[in-house]
């Protein structure tokens, strides 16, 4: 299998006035194409910081990050913007949709920034929204959708541009059980069908049970890395 993400001795230290805080402490991991990975751990264990680092949103204070063989930790900000646009899909905890765009426009948004053809955007956005069960909500604005529906649109948006991997930061945290299971079904299905690497941070047991690999972080370090058969 192809390695999509590789981190070597990854570190993120915050220099507080009292004492430096090692949010991510020497993490060396590899993620393979098509993996469905849950990063778990208690609050403050470094899950979100780790996702921000491999997503190119934050700069490490030490170590390296390779995405598809490209070192991203030394990239300039403008290069990182472009890199994220072309390679990474994001799903955040609190339904981060663009409020003034419809569901279909939200799903098309990244493809629009990538300057894909109108026909391709149209087809792919409709197809993705059908896959997440929202074919009847194409022209609904986020405020006309429930929390679960918004999160499904966010997943559709993250996957529509066919990124190398998708990072999801506690995607089910604000959802009821039914919506959470529904979302997980969709993510699992798309992961298999599109063969897109999915990495999500969570402390939701319902999510952990569905993951193919579970990495546990404690105090910024990997305490357990297990593949679930």
């Amino acid at each position: 299998m192809k390695t999509v993400i590789k981190t070597t001795n990854l570190q993120k230290i915050y220099n507080n006035s009292v004492a430096p805080v090692k949010a991510v402490n020497n993490i060396s991991l590899e993620f393979q194409e098509g993996e469905f990975t849950a990063i778990v751990g208690p609050s403050g264990s470094g899950k979100t910081t780790f996702l921000n680092l491999i997503g190119g949103l934050d700069k490490p204070t030490g170590g390296e990050i390779y995405i598809d063989g490209t070192e991203i930790s030394t990239m300039k900000e403008s290069e990182l913007f472009d890199f994220r646009l072309r390679n990474i899909g994001f799903v955040f905890q609190s339904y981060n949709l663009i409020p003034v765009l419809t569901a279909k426009e939200n799903v098309s948004f990244i493809m629009l920034l990538q300057k894909r053809s109108k026909a391709e955007m149209e087809q792919r956005a409709t197809e993705m929204l059908e896959q997440v069960g929202l074919s009847d909500k194409l022209n609904s604005r986020p405020n006309q959708l429930s929390g679960g529906q918004q999160q499904r649109v966010a997943v559709a948006r993250a996957l529509a541009s066919k990124p190398k991997f998708v990072l999801a930061d506690e995607p089910t945290a604000n959802l009821d059980t039914e919506s959470a299971f529904n979302l997980l079904d969709i993510m699992e299905k798309l992961n298999k069908e599109e063969n897109i690497t999915l990495i999500f941070s969570t402390h939701d047991q319902r999510v952990i049970e569905r993951a193919g690999r579970v990495i546990t972080l404690v105090d910024g370090s990997v305490s357990k890395d297990e593949v679930i058969s």
């Binding site: 646009l85 990474i88 003034v100 765009l101």
Partner: protein
């Protein structure tokens, strides 16, 4: 670019009330500013029109020394040479009005008073300012008339009327004595008190004989076919008039003191306008700032998705521009009929102010100007202000820390 415009436009309507209030504030500011400037300009235009019509004309040709030291010895010889020059520009010149003006002592049996004697060509003067319409007693001067026309105020001071004879005494050309007796043909109401109390009119030919100046005049007023091209005509005349002996002055140069006074007054108005502009600026700035603060997390999302800072900055800049443009366009659309209405129906004044204005011969109203530059200037000023305010979110967007904004 289309998506950036869509985002900016839709963002404006996320909080309709706020956007509409901001647009309204810009609209009312533009409307107020336009009305304010229109009223001020209207008053100045009327004053200038009146001064040009009754006093200076658009262009004057004078002796080179007359402007600095107005004296009968510094007069201009209105000869064939000047006539020929004026003929060359006959297409641009509607007509010219010669005048000979000097101080004179005017006496009756019991009174003596210093006055200003104006030697005029009666027909040309009527053409220029309808002076005959201001005759309140007797008749207007005829060409080569050997009588006088007296301003009403001066007639009252001297206690004389039509048919009485006055003794005039003054200094003629090159120190000669100018003296004569003249019957009063008519009394004219000159409205402006200072002028009304010391003005005498005489036909030009009689005045030239009285002062012994032959064909000399103190000023030759040029009335252009197109007053808007006064400056160009003056420039052309300057090239052909002998600068060693003659001087060409425009009404702006002749009324320099008055214009400076107006500029001073305009500076006061500008302070008022600046306050208005600052109010607009703060209103707009407040809206933009609120929009920025409440969308920090959204900006972080857009950056995360791969939208560049410049693209987000353009969206924010468009938002500021859209609000102000909507306010400016609506403000101008509403201002045009309002100003047009006041232009045709000036605000009537009452009480002491109305009396004071009427004393100066003006209709007691506040006139408005419908000059299109007023609308264009206001629109440009507000747009420049909003452009500058629009740069603030651009600056802020480039400084947003994604990780902090995400929290």
């Amino acid at each position: 670019m289309k998506i950036l415009l869509i985002l900016a436009w839709r963002n404006l309507w996320r909080n309709k009330k706020r956007t509409l209030i901001t647009i309204s504030s810009v609209l009312f500011a533009v409307l107020l500013a336009t009305l304010f400037v229109s009223m001020e300009k209207g008053s100045y235009e009327r004053l200038i029109d009146s001064m040009v019509k009754y006093s200076t004309g658009y262009i004057q040709i004078q002796d080179i020394l007359y402007d600095e030291e107005p004296s009968i010895d510094h007069t201009l010889l209105f000869d064939e040479e000047i006539e020929e020059i004026l003929n060359k520009y006959e297409e641009q010149i509607a007509y010219h009005v010669p005048r000979l003006q000097n101080f004179v002592l005017v006496a009756t049996e019991n009174n003596t008073r210093g006055s200003i004697l104006n030697g005029i060509d009666p027909e040309l003067e009527i053409k220029m300012n309808d002076l005959n319409e201001d005759v309140v007693k007797g008749e207007f001067l005829k060409p080569n008339d050997n009588g006088l026309m007296l301003a009403e105020g001066l007639a009252g001071i001297l206690n004389v009327t039509v048919g009485d004879t006055l003794v005039l005494l003054g200094q003629g050309f090159h120190g000669s004595t100018a003296a004569g007796t003249y019957p009063i043909r008519g009394i004219v109401d000159l409205k402006i008190p200072d002028i009304n109390n010391n003005t005498i009119y005489m036909s030009l030919s009689e005045a030239q004989w009285f002062y012994g100046t032959d064909n000399r005049v103190t000023s030759l007023i040029i009335m252009p076919e197109n007053p808007a091209r006064t400056q160009q005509l003056a420039e052309s005349l300057r090239k052909v008039i002998d600068p060693e002996w003659h001087r060409v002055l425009t009404w702006e140069e002749l009324l320099e003191d008055l214009l400076n006074l107006m500029k001073f007054d305009v500076a006061g108005t500008m302070v008022m306008m600046m306050i208005l502009y600052i109010v607009i600026a703060f209103g707009l700035f407040g809206t933009i700032l609120t929009m920025l603060i409440e969308r920090r997390k959204e900006f972080a999302l857009l950056f995360s998705l791969g939208m560049k800072r410049a693209q987000v900055a353009i969206v924010c800049f468009f938002e500021a521009l859209f609000i102000s443009m909507a306010g400016v366009i609506l403000g101008i659309i509403i201002s045009i009929p309002v100003v047009a209405w006041f232009y045709h129906h000036p605000i009537p004044l009452s009480g002491d102010m109305a009396e004071a204005i009427a004393d100066y011969g003006f209709e007691p109203v506040l006139p408005f100007s419908a000059d299109p530059t007023i609308f264009i200037n206001q629109a440009l000023i507000v747009l420049i202000i909003s452009f500058l305010i629009g740069l603030f979110p651009v600056y802020k967007v480039f400084r947003i820390n994604i990780m902090e904004a995400k929290k």
